[in-house]
């Protein structure tokens, strides 16, 4: 039997076994769950090689599964995050209800993501895509709170995307009589002109819904915030990347062959940039950590979309690199929020403060993740941002680069809010009992945060598989021209070497840290956060002076004109308009027999009038 079958059998069978084991014992269920993820990861990386394919046919449709180097980039994200999140969720979900349901859907969504990456035909792609949507939908509504808003929004927008994709698939099949993706790619340059425009638009509708691009992003903040944090790390880190996976394919295989692709690229790139700016501003305004990170995910995907849409080799490199980095740091941050939620029971910045001494490991990993998110050297986020800026400047997107820069500078605001809100500020008696999260939750965070640092100093480790994947997409190799193991180059030949800079940063930091520590070591005291210089007053036990209410009020006052308009209000207006329209239309059913008789007569008259043109 082919290894690809075994992989899917393993994941699907594991899901069902986990579901059944829930009835038997909790330990068995957890073990089966983790083992399934681990075994499929090991199987994928040891037995399945790039270029492996398997053909089969169902009711006359010939289908093909296989993996290429491009899919491997994303499988790295899916399986890597899957392993981390599975360990995490065993500890995080302990003591919650309906765990069989949760683990089943978790595994199915991992499997369907692998399926998307491995399907070489449009039918299995669509089926796996729908499985991914539904399994994630079931987890979004798992908590049972806010279902109306988050769950329904998510499924409606996903359905919109799925219909668009289905339409596109039917169009392709009608024209080429083949469902294979490679066939479609080869045939695309010879499609009629109308097809050439509509196919990418339809496919992009499906993919940008998952990648949460404006104006189709409305579902994302609620859905990310309302699903359990153990899954949100996968949801935001890996599942949204499936949208990016599809978008890159569309851009490489379709948009490149458009007669005039500039306007298309510019539109998508600007939509990405506007998504980044607006989502960043909304993230700054949030008081709940889950909401903040959810909006920040939307913003980060905006950068990636811009990189994809610009489409030069450097931009594509940066988009793929940022995808991997975003998976790492956003998963770490969502896991940190989950750990805090587990230990304190709340995720609001206004309620919990001063956890740094109680949860030091969570703090360190979220600190590293935040530095990566903000794009500060020498962590991974900087490498991606650097390549994005350079590619935008080199490809003459001057205003776009300012927009992206504005979004990423404003991102410092919510980055600081996250760290300050949870970990810093005055230590309160209410949270004195809080302990560090269990080791199973802390370890994945620390591993991912460390990886972020390693990838920042040696970006070549990640860029190498990305380069292979881009060669599959038809780009020429970028190794040596744009990157080396720890160096980056732009199209003008300017360079940046991460390793010596990282040494300089680390060395300076250590040197001055030692000076600070050694100088007057015995005369330096630790004092509590109640012992502050507040006009000679001593804050009492219950008095909390931490500044957390209205944190960025002046900034929000400065940007309030742009934040008045929300996409959601337009959709609601559209919905209300439709409701009113159909309410009006409903009145044709007057309940009066004579009115119905008139309808019949009018219908017959119309038939007679247009008899010739209709049936002739």
């Amino acid at each position: 039997m082919n290894m690809i079958y075994i992989l899917f059998t393993l994941m699907f069978g594991g899901a069902i076994l986990t579901f059944l084991a829930h009835k038997v014992s909790g330990l068995l269920r957890d073990t089966l769950f983790v083992l399934t993820v681990l075994a499929s990861t090991v199987l994928f990386y040891t037995k399945i090689h790039t270029g492996d394919t398997v053909d089969f046919s169902i009711s006359g449709l010939s289908l093909q599964w296989g993996i290429n180097a491009y899919g491997r980039i994303f499988s790295m994200i899916v399986l890597g995050l899957g392993v981390m999140a599975s360990f995490y969720s065993v500890s995080y979900m302990k003591g919650k209800e309906r765990l069989g349901y949760f683990y089943f859907n978790f595994l199915i969504s991992l499997m369907s993501m692998m399926g998307i990456l491995m399907s070489h035909d449009l039918v299995s792609f669509f089926i796996f895509w729908e499985m991914m949507t539904w399994s994630s939908y079931f987890i979004v509504i798992y908590n049972g709170k806010n279902v109306q808003r988050s769950g329904i929004n998510y499924i409606i927008f996903s359905a919109l995307g799925a219909y668009a994709m289905l339409m596109a698939i039917v169009m392709v099949y009608a024209h080429t009589q083949s469902l294979m993706i490679p066939d479609m790619m080869q045939a695309f340059p010879f499609f009629p002109a109308a097809y050439k425009i509509w196919l990418p638009i339809l496919f992009l509708t499906a993919f940008t819904v998952k990648a949460a691009m404006m104006p189709l992003h409305v579902w994302a903040p609620d859905a990310y915030a309302d699903s359990p944090m153990a899954y949100t790390s996968v949801f935001s880190g890996a599942l949204s990347k499936m949208g990016i996976y599809g978008m890159i394919m569309v851009f490489v295989t379709m948009v490149n062959y458009l007669p005039d692709d500039t306007w298309f690229r510019e539109t998508i790139a600007w939509l990405g940039a506007i998504t980044a700016i607006m989502a960043t501003l909304w993230a700054i305004a949030q008081d709940d950590a889950r909401k903040l990170l959810a909006w920040s995910s939307v913003a980060q995907l905006g950068y990636i979309i811009t990189g994809v849409a610009v489409g030069t080799p450097l931009a594509m490199l940066s988009a793929l690199f940022l995808s991997v980095m975003h998976a790492l740091f956003k998963a770490t941050l969502f896991m940190a929020v989950g750990a805090i939620e587990k230990q304190t029971g709340t995720t609001k910045f206004t309620e919990v403060t001063g956890l740094i001494r109680k949860m030091p490991w969570t703090f360190i990993s979220s600190l590293l993740a935040i530095i990566g998110l903000a794009g500060i050297p020498p962590l991974g986020g900087f490498v991606g941002k650097w390549m994005l800026y350079e590619s935008l400047i080199n490809s003459n997107h001057y205003i776009l680069v300012i927009a992206i820069f504005f979004a990423s500078t404003s991102a410092f605001l919510y980055c600081y809010k996250f760290l300050f809100g949870f970990f810093l500020g005055q230590e309160e008696k209410e949270w004195e009992h809080v302990k560090e999260a269990p080791a199973l939750m802390v370890l994945p965070m620390i591993i991912m945060a460390t990886l972020l640092l390693v990838f920042g100093v040696f970006p070549g480790i990640v860029l190498k598989p990305i380069d292979l994947g881009m060669q599959t997409l038809g780009y020429s190799t970028t190794a040596g021209t744009f990157w080396s193991m720890s160096g980056l180059f732009n199209e003008w030949g300017n360079q940046i070497m991460m390793r010596p800079l990282a040494y300089a940063i680390g060395g300076t930091f250590l040197f001055f840290l030692i000076i600070l520590t050694v100088k007057g070591f015995k005369e330096t005291r630790y004092v509590t956060t109640k012992d502050i210089s507040s006009s000679g007053e001593v804050p009492l036990e219950h008095e909390n002076l931490t500044f957390s209410e209205g944190f960025y009020q002046p900034f929000l006052r400065a940007v309030c004109p742009v934040m008045k308009r929300r996409m959601m209000t337009y959709y609601q207006g559209f919905g209300q308009g439709m409701e009113a329209f159909f309410d009006y239309l409903r009145r044709v059913y007057s309940g009066n027999g004579q009115t119905y008789a008139i309808y019949v007569i009018v219908f017959v008259v119309i038939l007679l009038l247009f008899k010739n043109s209709l049936f002739g």
Partner: protein, 181 residues
């Protein structure tokens, strides 16, 4: 080789010079004396040419300037501020109220002699002392620092029990962190 004692002497001279010419003042504006500080700092008398400069918080300050009478309530805050300052720290009592109570000598809720509650390095007398007197007070303090005799913090540390007893005597609800330097 450098003689250890001699090199310590040189370091002391440099440090005392720096401490002497860089006095960051936390002006605790009680009573009417605070009004004499703006003319002292601004262009008529310009205390900044002596290196005297305002500090925003006790953590950064060197000199605590108490400009007038202290009610027992205020005394508690002043002690708090004094304990938050970093060593070496100096106290200047300003006006006759800090010396003997001045016109408040028989008031029921003000203290009369400041140095029963914290070590005072320099008193500036007068009611009010004019900016010239304030400047001369600073000059005197600088001389004391140069000679290494302004060691109020050391005195406070050594006689902490006595000071604490006096402080607790007049402050009814004593709720303050321990002073453990």
């Amino acid at each position: 080789m450098i003689n250890d004692k001699n090199s310590q002497k040189i370091v002391d001279i440099i440090q005392n010079f720096a401490r002497q010419h860089s006095l960051w003042v936390l002006a605790y504006g009680t009573g009417c004396g605070a009004i004499e500080l703006p003319p002292t700092m601004t262009s008529r008398y310009d205390a900044e040419r002596l290196g005297v400069r305002g500090a925003a918080t006790p953590r950064q300050a060197d000199v605590l300037l108490i400009t007038g009478y202290l009610t027992t309530k205020t005394l508690k805050r002043v002690i708090r501020v004094y304990e938050q300052m970093q060593d070496p720290k100096y106290v200047i009592g300003f006006g006759s109220c800090t010396i003997n109570g001045g016109m408040y000598w028989d008031s029921y809720n003000t203290i009369k002699a400041l140095d029963r509650y914290m070590p005072v390095d320099i008193y500036i007398n007068g009611c009010m002392p004019r900016p010239e007197a304030v400047l001369s007070g600073f000059a005197k303090l600088q001389k004391l620092i140069q000679a290494g005799k302004a060691d109020g913090a050391k005195k406070y540390k050594e006689n902490l029990e006595w000071y604490r007893a006096n402080q607790k005597n007049v402050i009814p609800n004593w709720r303050m962190p321990e002073y453990n330097w």
